[in-house]
Each structure stands twice: as structure tokens, then as C-alpha cells.
Amino acid sequence: MTTDGWPLWEVFVRSRRGLSHTHAGSLHAPDAEMALRNARDLYTRRSEGVSIWVVPSTAITASSPDEKDPFFEPAADKPYRHPTFYEIPEGVKHL
């Protein structure tokens, strides 16, 4: 019996109330409940979290392998979406 048949789970931890869950790592477990328990032991041994999500890795749809691909290009030529794009006369406040 191996653990290879055990699904891979991605672990997301909320470090404290008011913050969103952040990806902490992954682990193998036979089911969701064991994944949660293992995640607690593996990723929150020092009170790093107040809430944990476990998600089967296969349930995640990712953008294309190359993280620099044209998928993200439409955002690259629109600097006017950033506040620093605009020139404001010196001395104008609260803007």
C-alpha cells in the first residue's frame, strides 16, 4: 500500500481574522477530513492559522504554464490604470 493513490491537496491558511487565506503548501491525504488534520499538524504547529482550507489539486484550473504568456499582456499597455500615470500640479492636496 502506497500513498501515491492518495490525492494531492493544496492547503490555504488564514493567519488571523481579517486576512485572506494564503497558499501554504500541499500534502497527500486519503480524504478531506484527514487532509485538514494533516494540514493542521504540518502548517500550523506554531499558531500560524485560525482557519484552513484544503482543496484537491485537481480542482484547480490554472492559467497557461508559462506565466509570462500573452494571457496577461492586455494589462501591460494600460499604464493609465495606475494613479501615478497622471500629472497633478504641485501643491494640490488630498488627490
Binding site: 486519503p30 478531506a32 508559462d66
Partner: protein
Amino acid sequence: MTAVTAATTGTTGAPGVSDTAVAAEQAAYEAVFDAAVAADERIEPRDWMPEAYRASLVRQIAQHAHSEIIGMQPEANWITRAPSLRRKAILMAKVQDEAGHGLYLYSAAETLGTSRDELLDKLHSGRQKYSSIFNYPTLTWADVGAIGWLVDGAAITNQVPLCRCSYGPYARAMVRVCKEESFHQRQGYEALLALSNGTEAQHAMAQDAVNRWWWPSLMMFGPPDDESTHTAQAMAWKIKRHTNDELRQRFVDIAVPQAEALGLTLPDPDLRWNEERGHYDFGPIDWTEFWAVLKGNGPCNDQRLSKRRQAHEDGAWVREAAAAYAEKHTGQHGEGQA
């Protein structure tokens, strides 16, 4: 450690595509990889990477992961005989951390397309190594302190630069490991200090442990630079950031004043401050011992491996029961193969 585990991309010699087209595609991928490494960007699991880079990482991460879980044995040896409840609780937490470190690292290796079972198989059959340091026995309680101070201290010296390793999942695992190692080193130092300040017999016990662990700790940094087969390439790929000898020197420089504060000596008559170099000089390392232990002839090689195999076999029924339970209650078992 990433949302999606390894999938090799590119280099698909689809039928009908000419060799030159494949070669051009390969060169383009390689250029992107080289530029990312040169710019100190991180390589992520689904990026194209040279096969040799992948293999080198798998070898290094696997050896690192194996070291973490084999390293549980020499210390676990003392859990039942820890001198106080406080020390016992600390030691259990430390040994549990080592298991956790092993899991972070196996996860990182899995992102490269190598399963944990495959890696464990290679460990159990002796085809992959773990750090030689764990083939030495823990003869007294003071050894637990010496391991924390020296062995974990050497490990930290090695691991801090790995937090900037070019491979993202390995670097992220190391950040987590380094945070936790600091407790390991300090608890060891504190335990040794208590012994050193204790009775004459306790002081002697601490000194004896340091005498035995000092040289093997220096060997943990690996062979000298001119004999290290992997260093040059690993540094070009920014997997490693410093050579073995640089890190060894850094560790010696840190350890000498720490030993003084402990009131203990280090077993090296040649150890002295070199004003000109701004470093401590130290005596020659017995590399014949290093190679002998590496080849399997250390005091505990057989014991460590057979205990690991036995633990794995003894745990089989637990894994089977968990899988059977999952299948019965959720039908989840077998879904989502990595």
C-alpha cells in the same frame, strides 16, 4: 507546494515537426530559462527547465528530505530518557518538526514530477543518500544538545542561502524550515549550557559530546571545493549560492565564540584566529572518514536504514485503513492522482 504539480512543457517532438524546428523551440525555451536565472527570478514548477536542472534539484531535495526524516532517529532515541518533562516536550516538538521538514521537502520534490513513494523507495533501497551526520550514534543526553547546537547550526548555515534558491518551491520550503530550525539550535545550546554549568560529570559529558560531533558537523558541508562534483553547476543555476568551503568557514567563525560562551573547547589544536584573513584557521578534516561513512561504513548506517524500512512497513496497515475508510465514506480514494 504549488497549485499544480509538474508538467513538462515544450520540447514535444510532435510527428511531422522537423528536427530543426524542435531545436529552435528548445533553444528559445532555454534562453527564457537562462534569462530568468540571470535576473534572479524564480523558476516555478510548470516553467520549462533543462532536464539536468530538474534532475539536480530532485537529487538535492530528495537527499535533504531523507536527511530530515532519518534525522528523527538519533534524537528520538532520547525522548523517553529526557532529564525533565520540559526537555522531553521540547525534544518531541523538535522531532515532530523534522518530520514536517521532510514533508515540505518531499512536496517540493513532487512539483518536479517525482512522487514521494518513488523517493522513499530509493531511500529504502539505498539508491539515494541522506546526510552522513545521522550515521553517528547519540551516546549520551548531551548528544541531543550537541546535535541542536552544531548539527542544526551547520544545517542553518547551509539552508539560509537556500531560501534564495532559483527554484521557487524549494526556496519557499527552506524559508519555513529556517524559521523553525532556529528553535532547534537554541534549545540545543541551552541544554549544553545547563550541562556545562552543572556538576563536573555533567560538564565532562557536554565536552565529550562536543568532541565527538564537531568534526562530523564540519563534514556536513560536503567535500572541499576542488573535489565537489556538483558545486560549480549548482552555483551557475543559482541552486547553491556559496561553495562548501565558504559555508564551512562561516560556520567555524560563528561557532568558536559560541563554544567559548558555553565554557567548552572545540577538539582542534589548530583552531586560531587569523588576523590577516579575518577568519578562524582550522585543522585538516579527515575526509577518509567522510567517504567511508558516505559509502555505508559509518557506525549506524545499517541501523538507520533498517529502522526506517521497518517503520514504513509497520505503518502500512494505517495507510490501508485510511484509504479504505476514505473509499467507503466518500469514494474519494484514487481521485486526483498527483
